[in-house]
Assembly symmetry: C2
Amino acid sequence: MDPQSTAARHVAVIAGHLNCQSPSAAAPLALAACLHYDPPELSEKPPAFDLAALRRVLDGHDLAARDWLFRLMEESPLFCPRRRGDRTFVAPDYNQTKEQQRAVTMRRIEYLLRRGVFEGWVTGSGPEAELRKLAFFECIAIYDHSLSIKLGVTYFLWGGAIRFFGTKRHHDKWLKATEDYQVKGCFAMTELGHGSNVRGIETIAIYDTNTREFVINTPCESAQKYWIGGAANHATHTIIFSQLLINGTSQGIHAFVAQIRDADGNVCPNVRIADCGHKIGLNGVDNGRIWFDNLRIPRENLLNSVADVLPDGQYVSSIKDKDKRFAAFMAPLTFGRVNIAATAVYISKVALAITVRYALTRRAFSISADGPEVLLLDYPSHQWRILPLIAKTCAMSSAANYLKRLYVKRTPETNKSIHIYSSSLKATLTWHNMRALQECRKACGGQGLKTENRIGILNCEYDVQSTFEGDNNVLMQQLDLLCLRERDLLGRYASEVSQYQAQGESKQKAMLLSHQLADELARAFTERTILQIFADDEMTQSAGPLKELLGLLRSMYALISVEEDASFLRYGYLSLESAAAARKEVMKLCGDLRPHALSVVSSFGIPDAFLSPIAFDWIQANSWASLSNE
Amino acid sequence: MDPQSTAARHVAVIAGHLNCQSPSAAAPLALAACLHYDPPELSEKPPAFDLAALRRVLDGHDLAARDWLFRLMEESPLFCPRRRGDRTFVAPDYNQTKEQQRAVTMRRIEYLLRRGVFEGWVTGSGPEAELRKLAFFECIAIYDHSLSIKLGVTYFLWGGAIRFFGTKRHHDKWLKATEDYQVKGCFAMTELGHGSNVRGIETIAIYDTNTREFVINTPCESAQKYWIGGAANHATHTIIFSQLLINGTSQGIHAFVAQIRDADGNVCPNVRIADCGHKIGLNGVDNGRIWFDNLRIPRENLLNSVADVLPDGQYVSSIKDKDKRFAAFMAPLTFGRVNIAATAVYISKVALAITVRYALTRRAFSISADGPEVLLLDYPSHQWRILPLIAKTCAMSSAANYLKRLYVKRTPETNKSIHIYSSSLKATLTWHNMRALQECRKACGGQGLKTENRIGILNCEYDVQSTFEGDNNVLMQQLDLLCLRERDLLGRYASEVSQYQAQGESKQKAMLLSHQLADELARAFTERTILQIFADDEMTQSAGPLKELLGLLRSMYALISVEEDASFLRYGYLSLESAAAARKEVMKLCGDLRPHALSVVSSFGIPDAFLSPIAFDWIQANSWASLSNE
């Protein structure tokens, strides 16, 4: 196909869309002045590497299953397909009240259920089933965070609690019903007074030997269950986290099962429920508050995998230490962390794919008098803003795949490293996602504010998952630099904590006082880890253009990390001259990556319909003629 | 009042709210475990300085007028008063479609109009009237960004254009009608194809000597007017920015007036209007798109203060140079920049007042086994997160007041410095506001996500105003450091640009390539400026506790700026030892400021009703009993 003749044809098409008539005097001039849209596929050079091969590296697994699920969503009118220009996009309608968003989220779940998407999600097992489930969750999250969270509460939190905290009697009763979405479970852990500090929760369960029941109470307002996803409207059952009192002595936190709504959706007796209200995002999830008033549940509803109460009221546990019992209860939350980390990378890909495509078709200002306007992505500052984020996203894809594989093949021996990796990567990858969304939002100017263009609303919707920290890294000699930083920070941290202790502070207080070094150390650890995993993925490729591209991305990831972390300067790991050289090198790498930008985001595997109008012919999508199709 | 007996009474009140009955065995334990709320006014030390005096410094002007307007809004049911616990809060209901938000915004405007809030906004003049108008805008923005923007479009952009670009015939016809909101004007500058680069707009006006009219056309889809606030539903008139063609030659951009809706709200012939759709914020503003099809307007509708077309078609202008004519048209936008800068500081105050009050009543984790949980604001990391933001907000209040005074007393001689200060301060203050909102959102945990708690939604609503840069600063010897940085960066920037030019790049391209140094230089300039203005405000105070507090805040502002800007290390302005010392000093200042946190935010002058439930008794506000009041 000859790009020039295509461009000429394109101009003719655009001209045909001009349905307003100019006065004759102005007509020739107007035509000369008008902007037209060049598809980046025609204006950019063809890919230098195999796009499908890069997608296999980045997605890591279950490519066909992902595409199947994407198509399911594209096919259904429930997913709000909307026509813009000659394309159709799917995205939720956020100009809805929370009540409307909740209702349509439920209808989407019922549709996916009918199409068999959730088969094996609760009753299945084995690494392949788990990877496939994780892939599905990433795809669903790309459509809508509420849909993903509402499913996650029932399938991961409720389902995971039944599976991991429960025993055969619980599995037989609830697992299949959960997979079929007959039982809609929620997970009542957080309270108004205690969020992160779960051990401090105030809900109380006591055992009544006469009736062989537990009696559950919300003893005060701060003990009300809070933020419970699914509780406000739809959940039929809940896990209740509660202090367990035996003969007046607390045995710590335990998990119980209770029904909270009957088959007609009425709230059960001795349970009160209220709405958490409108939120800045996730309004498709019906977060609720729950109070328990002498709620009685059978003894058998204690999830008893690690501890039990015998019919006579005797407390027995296979784990003697209260702290260790608590840790056992928290372990299944790991799946959620793995899922959130992997999803964060996928969301960054949506935003970057949209932003790069827009930056390859939108021009602003000319740099010489009366010269043509310049493409956004040809501005050095725009390249600096976007291209390092692409490199980070690719590196973090590798890290997320590594984490998923580690998780699905877990053994008792790998639990500790899974905990460390899932915690640090979740923090780093969600932080990166928020930053990518914010930069992309700004890089798209005003168009980034329209919800139909997705980036801005993804920022609002995903703000909830943002937590702390960063990213980073280097070539072979710079890899030494990252290791040096990590080792040195560890030494500094240990020494500062000791100094505070020598001054009479407790160890806990000393660690609080050293919060900056702790943050810097966590960042150093995670950045070094991601770089290593990404480099390992690169090593498995045979020599060729794809391997060269991965090398470029790895160099960019490493150098931008050095550039962005002041600790390299602060602690003297880098001389002023080397810092200046690193900055120049990032700038050079921007130039090297620029020609590959379209190819890389095209390898992200996001279907066009899940991008947005500004990623394609945004002039046509905004034309008066296209209004009649909306 | 004895704090202890008050606390005891408070516990009794809380206990009275417990309307669920615990089984007898658990009752005594439950009471001991329950959280209760201590008002920070009782738990914190009394203020060490005069709160009203600090408010006078920070607000700078029109305190009584602000309070009058706050009360007007609190009194009207249109402003959504809602009961939470024993308090009433006013805030928009964001669980509404854009159509509902637009309708209620219009009703609020009509109410404020009836109460005389806009008197003199267009026809008034003089520094005092302008300062008062700016104060009113800040108060309105605290309630809702949409309300403020919708008013700003008509009163500042449309009204300012008529006033500054127009001459007597335009003033007579439209100024009074605008002030009375009979004429609802909008401002059609931006187009789909050209936003920031206004000179590139494609709308075309030609003069028809036969009918003595201008004929205005949208020659192609990229020329459609875009983002025009007020256009989608309510505007009756618009300013049209258009290329003016005289005998086939463009004279550059000129501003015209056209009516776009008749008295019944119908769109006028030869005008087409469409909606910009749902946005991530500002949905109370009806942004629209406009196309013109041979729209004919009288010759007199050219706003002719700098250029005119005589009845015979001859073009005359008092400014010969096209670029200078363009600059003259942009000048009135300065008022908007001044307003946005001042408003940004005020919004930061709302978020910080809420966050500090919550952090003084919310506890999490204990640092010793079985010890009491610790107040959020007693964590060093929480102090580091919040207290520097308070210092910056106070310093920026001074800077905003300085900018406002400079603006309202403007002369032809000060225009250039107003342009420089308004541009740099707008960028820095809005950037600070976004960062403060994001930090406050996270510092309030999940509660920050509820729209009724304001912080999270302010973040979404104000995202549109975020642009680039930072903050900063130092004591007397560190003030030298800031000046050194600014001088040195200027030298480096000039030298780098020359080097690129020596390599054959154009000056424009060389400046684009040096974008990092340009950013660092802009930051250095603005931070030094703010510090000087803040120090000047401190100088005017007589010795005493308030002056001491201002000194503390200034030191914090100076040192956190050094701490946060890596350029001090990157270019060697600071040795590694001094950098470590500066960090320790910030930590010490956190401790020094901690006891004053409540007093400072109490001096921000934000009425309680404009804060939110988590700023007061959030346990009571969330109680089951309070649901019946909602």
